[in-house]
Amino acid sequence: MAQPWQFLGYQKLASNTAGVYFTNWFPAGTNASSYWDFNYKLVMETVTNYSGANGSEPGPYYRLNINSVYNWDVVAYSQHDDNQASGTPYQWSAYPTATTNGRPYAFEQPSTTWIMNQGTNNDAANGTRRYASGEDDTQWGTTEVSYTKQHSTGHSMRMNSFNVQSRVNGTNQCFNGYQATCGTLTGYNVAPAELYINAANWQFLAGSKFWLWGCRTTNDY
């Protein structure tokens, strides 16, 4: 029987950082192979000052690594807020959208673009950003990852992001949503020791925040 969700840790970065670790995220003496099922939830509020050329790739991109668990098959979609100002429905953009197989990292750019990007402020030619003012020349976005192992079905993750990208080259456009899912059978009964969030192509700026919860059959902290 699973225990209630347990809060495992919080980090607010004091420096611009290329990687974020959560270590010892299984109770002492246990690991993934100790459980038929487990759930982890990671919430990230990340900040960037990177301004992409067109609001799409390349930009800051991040990776999620569960050591000893690899060979992820990934499907990713982004949501492109094309015309929210006039009240029309959201539209699914064709870009960036990706499927890929056999990746060592879950949600790895470029093939499965976990992006964090800002448009250009107060630039009439390139459009303005939707979610930040000219005084606040950073883009913040929220990303939530649910990581699950279920019995013999291997590992799976679901990622939902919001406000992770604003877009230039348009007067009222931005990417404001992103969702992806991935799974692997490889290493489903191994013993990952670390959750590693890697900013592969940029940095997590100081002030970025990370929270981790776990739901397992054992809580011993």
Partner: protein, 90 residues
């Protein structure tokens, strides 16, 4: 040149520490980035070839007297070719 910073939180103690990446970690990060970019380049090459075939197919249909709108309904849209570039952190 110093290595990038990493922040690590030990869930068992609640202690967060900041440190420089080891040379091994830095090299691993760079290597995996390069590997990813190579994968994109390979996918791009496949997509460029596929797009060329799609363009030829569209021309053939147009030559048969179909309208552009009809051709667009028959022939799938071009596949995405992604830019390959690595940003340099400040």
């Amino acid at each position: 040149m110093t290595n990038p910073i990493v922040s690590s939180h030990d869930c068992s103690t609640g202690i967060t520490t900041e440190r420089e990446m080891t040379d091994e970690e830095t090299e691993q990060m760079r290597a995996s980035t390069q590997e990813s970019l190579k994968q994109v380049e390979a996918e791009n090459a496949q997509n460029v070839a596929a797009n060329a075939k799609l363009a030829t197919t569209r021309e053939k249909f147009l030559g048969m007297g179909l309208t552009q709108e009809e051709v667009d309904l028959i022939v799938p849209a071009d596949q995405e070719v992604r830019p390959v570039e690595v940003a340099v952190a400040e």
